[in-house]
Symmetry: D2
């Protein structure tokens, strides 16, 4: 009966890694013998376990080893990863190793290389001579790239729960509108302050409801005050922000008065037309046409913004990227250094950002619809917190906290 | 071919009454001839129309006349209402007239009597000698009560849109979370101020999420400051309010810190036990056991509160009415004089209140779930406004507006 | 430093009991030393662990022991439970032991007594002479009853995951509408068949949407065919079922044609009136007035039904219990023997049933609203499965499966 | 006081056009005098009204005339539309006429030209010499195009309610899950049959939940049987359909068994890789790699499909259009001839299709989330019906109806 000894290290009890590993072994028809287990006496102490995994056939054993490797259980004696050159552009070789968004190492010539830019649902390309490994999205594969195939020689580091128990973590555990949210917003503010202090970047992903609900001015202030480094959004956020700046309306409704403007339903098209006539958002700011709002603040402060189009867009505005592959690549290019990402009232762009972000980035997802929050925070990590609330008071209170 | 001439008066174009009447006539297989129509030249001017309605059979004509009577179309020549004595307690005679929540008149001995206490899904009892008519719920019918049967001799006054167009009305038109809400909250504050100034009563219907989200303190202040005259709620609101006052938690979560208390899930049972041991909420306040929170404020300020139980209650608290028929009657007894009703985060008690309220009472329904708001505001009147938002910031801002 | 040795038995790794216990110890400021741990080599093998728990003060140690006792960790040397006589009717002594819905044992004169009728948020009353222990709801406490106080001498048995992994369990793990549901419905059918075969009872909790969506006929057939032993519902289900039987409409809409009936909005009031005139549902069936529908099937088949009223009811029907405390007791009286409970499209009555059911009863919760399903299935057990789907096709397919 | 006489024709009472026009006049501060009004005696008879509209200033009068023109009220004496040549590519002249999705006519040299391809939020380009007018999306504008500016000389035809009252229309009036849906599905089937009989096209817009819920096979059959002429979807629908065809899973869950596959979360990436290696979906079908599923049925039957990418896509598949402007144009090119559009479980692509479709196309929108249905059907027309239900039973029943 084929068997292999694997090793587990870290907070394997506390983070439920050990039970999960035993679970997987049994789920796939294997058996295990726990050779030794050392359990830390305090939360901070790491534990350690060695387990012999057996299975009725080599193929089953390989499946099991592949599964538990994703949980951090690596064979005690490890071999090199298998590299296969891509046989065509834009596709992986058969049986390519499919990445998670966790920190990942590849064994190459006896040495563990950390894969750069962790991102899920990619492959890993290795340059053995330069001793570099990196995740690679499928469309960037070039014929001849050396791609990791199968699970041997790959090791991931599971996320561990922080040793302090705080409100952030408690809130992360379940999604409900029936919670005191002021405390979570305080905690989010603290995380943003900590990120800025540590020199890392804060990203905001925002949907047009930010403008419709009258919260645009709060986001504008957060940008002006330097709390936002990257803005990721779609055409609609920018259009209604500009509509608001030019006409005082969002989707034709006066934000000051809450009533619809005469012919207000056309305002967003006229806003688009004005910006297209000016040659773009940046030009409109330079020419003094666009003087306030979120986008104007981004231009004035010189912060990075990526506007990714979608099939339902009107216009779109000139700065909106209409090709989705290029837009994803543009987003990838601004992600390095981001450690906190606040997603507000947009499912499409939030999922897009979530797909590309490493698991270690702290996510805060804010939406009035609990289904959206569940979908976005359900990534099996301890790093995502969901807040079911109205976006306007959320941003107002965030601004109050950060400006205080 | 049987026919009858009916008359329509009021803002019959503006309030869509005329089209609706013609619609009903045609829907049920009748035909009409418009004898004359006078349309007011300005919004304030009433219009007037006389229409001859014909149908292939008398029975169909009667059905049509019954339907359009609910829209305010009454025969030019009207007869007395038919009164039939109830043949047993707790039930109406067959074919009883089933009420709407609109102002209703009954013709008795040639005279139009206004039915007291308009309430939907009731009958109308008439005392011809004392010239009084009143709606009566089914369980209160006593053998011998003279009940209106059929439609003849009954006339209702449809609600009309106010002549001013304001944000309240615009907001009423559709339910969406993507709106600027600050303005609506201002408008709600204005309505509450106006009600108090006019000497009418303000009712609040509230669910336990008010406490869970940390908004209990705002409601407590509103009560203390005299803005609330009647509170209608269930066991859960009172239990968690008292849990909060005694332990600082709601459903076991510390509202100040946002983290769960040790054994906090038992707090609500211990709170119930404490109040039961003290002999009730009022006693607990008198004995100094209960010193803060919504219920303590109600007791101190002496405002009317009705706590109606439900099948899912723990305990319940001594003041909670456990018999539903008595609880409905208790609610009926506090309604006269209410002109504004704010419903916050409770579907069950809001529907219960909505069932009993006349159509003329202004409803404000606040919930984070759009389906709840739609259900509650969908009463075919211009008097209900729905707000899809988080209850804590809603109550905070309402308090800021009213205390400013 | 005070310490105590506790023991854990069962599937303590697989069911995550061990990590949870260690977690609690650390959360409340204690430390632990694992004296020995034996982990079963196969899923079926139980594991065993002995842990010395220490804390800086006796009070903290007691808190920790109380918490982990709920997870099944009992001191190696156990003492008797403390019994305190109730000092008044309708209230527990201070510091009463507050129950979970798990199987619970109380140590009395050196012997472990199983508490009858497990139900959460109750107390435990013990008769030491007759060697009996039972949960008791607060309103039933009589002065002099001997009530368990504090945690010592109480032991609960945590639920364990079944050793077979099936679709039921997979489905239980998350709530989403985006799943293949046919398989779950098959599994629910199998559970119902198994329950009937084992001689236990199947309970259905149903809301009026069952009738509105045209699914009443499926439920009627399930009752007729003997698949349902207990029906728990409110006034509305019965009213609209009877409306449907008498007029062919539900809330005034013809179920056969999908269009509103003339004056259909009054049908439910006329249905209530008819049944009240007949003296109740049973009488109406006996008199041949009520011939079809869910309620008629219950009467004809003689199955137990509990109709619990609510504050929003019209009427109500004579069989509807209007006192909530009596209605809960009526529900308690029909629960013994129930092993499967299917909750369909009603939050109020489902929560009420869930409050009273032991954790070992298998729950199936079906609703088109994911928030309702999440709320009902979120009981920390492996016995609740949620299905986000439309109730009409659910009941149709359930009937097809069970009648096949 | 400036004034103008306008004319209204059609079912102006029945379709609420007259009240809406009077409403707008008053809203914007104008006054009206009804010169004459002829109201049809039966539903089928058109009505006619002439109204003199006055306003305190010419500018206000123009605003009012612009507004009521959208409701079909055109000046009795009409002038030609104003045409202004575009001064640059990709932008309209200032004050361009912004289209609705209604049938629209432009007056040019005294003659009314119907604008081809009605689509909302576009401009209208006119070629006076060839007597042609057409809507034009902003990105297609070329310098020199003669674009309609302002409202004069433009006339729209409001949609009118059909004279038969059917379930379709009743259902359209409100969105609720609590309705009998079998009848609506029958009606949808009838509409599809009628469309096919009339030689017009049926379009389906579908999201990946169609596959996740196991409904892919129903859609596949509908395509095979010739009921679908155009499929509009995103990358995800095609990916999971192909995953299902290649691995039997959707998002890694076996559709036959309802349980997750080993390493199933990678299946969709392996499916994408396989199709990319084959050079696309059509090639994969030709090479025998892809043999079943929705996409294979489209290829085999040769029906038109447009796959529009989005920023959250993995891969994408080679046939997916990644440029949003091109994808919109591709969608525009397949729309002519479509008379029924069924939108299933996708908000993004449904909104995109809704933006481009003329108001006269019948929409059926099916989703389990009422908010999505409300958003999609809320287009102020009588042509959109919303169905809040589970997509699998919907498609199953649709197939049963159409194949019967």
């Amino acid at each position: 009966m084929p068997s292999e000894t694997v090793e587990l290290r870290g907070h394997i009890i506390d983070s439920l890694t050990l039970p999960k590993v035993l679970d997987e072994v049994m789920n796939y028809g294997g058996t295990f013998e726990i050779i030794d287990v050392t359990i830390g006496h305090r939360r901070e102490d790491p534990s350690h376990a060695r387990i012999r995994v057996s299975a009725p056939a080599q193929e089953i054993l390989d499946t099991i080893l592949g599964r538990i490797r994703q949980l951090g259980a690596a064979p005690v004696l490890e071999e090199d990863a298998v590299l296969v050159p891509a046989d065509k552009d834009g596709a992986f070789p058969e049986n390519f190793y499919c990445t998670t968004n966790l920190q990942t190492f590849v064994r190459c010539r006896g040495q563990w290389l950390e894969a750069e830019r962790p991102e899920m649902d990619c492959g890993i390309v290795v340059d053995p001579d330069r001793k570099r490994a990196a995740t690679i999205p499928i469309h960037r594969v070039k014929k001849g790239d050396r791609i990791v195939v199968g699970h041997p020689g790959v090791r991931v580091t599971p996320l561990e729960r922080s040793s302090e128990r705080n409100v952030f973590e408690f809130m992360a555990s379940s999604v409900s509108s029936e919670k005191p949210k002021g405390i979570v917003i305080k905690e989010v503010s603290a995380q943003i302050r900590a990120a800025k202090k540590a020199g890392s970047k804060v990203m905001v992903v925002a949907g047009p409801a930010v403008v419709h609900t009258g919260a645009g001015t709060h986001l504008e202030r957060l940008i002006e005050a330097g709390w936002v480094d990257v803005l990721f959004a779609g055409n609609a956020l920018a259009v209604h922000d500009i509509e608001q700046a030019l006409y005082g309306t969002s989707l034709g409704v006066y934000l000051e008065k809450g009533i619809p403007a005469k012919e207000g339903h056309e305002h967003h098209m006229r806003a688009i037309n004005t910006i297209r006539r000016a040659g773009g958002i940046r030009n409109a700011v330079d020419q003094g046409i666009l003087r306030s709002g979120i986008m104007a603040a981004c231009v004035r402060k010189g912060i990075e913004f990526v506007l990714a189009g979608s099939i339902r867009d009107d216009g779109p505005l000139p700065e909106v990227m209409t090709d989705m592959v290029s837009a994803q690549d543009a987003l990838r290019s601004v992600l390095p250094g981001v450690s906190v990402c606040v997603m507000i009232a947009t499912m499409l762009h939030s999922i897009a950002a979530g797909n590309l972000l490493p698991a270690a980035v702290k996510l805060v997802c804010v939406d009035i619809n609990p289904a959206v929050v569940t979908k976005l925070t359900d990534r099996g990590s301890f790093q995502a917190v969901g807040l079911v609330t109205d976006v306007e008071p959320f941003l107002r209170e965030l601004w109050t906290n950060l400006s205080g």
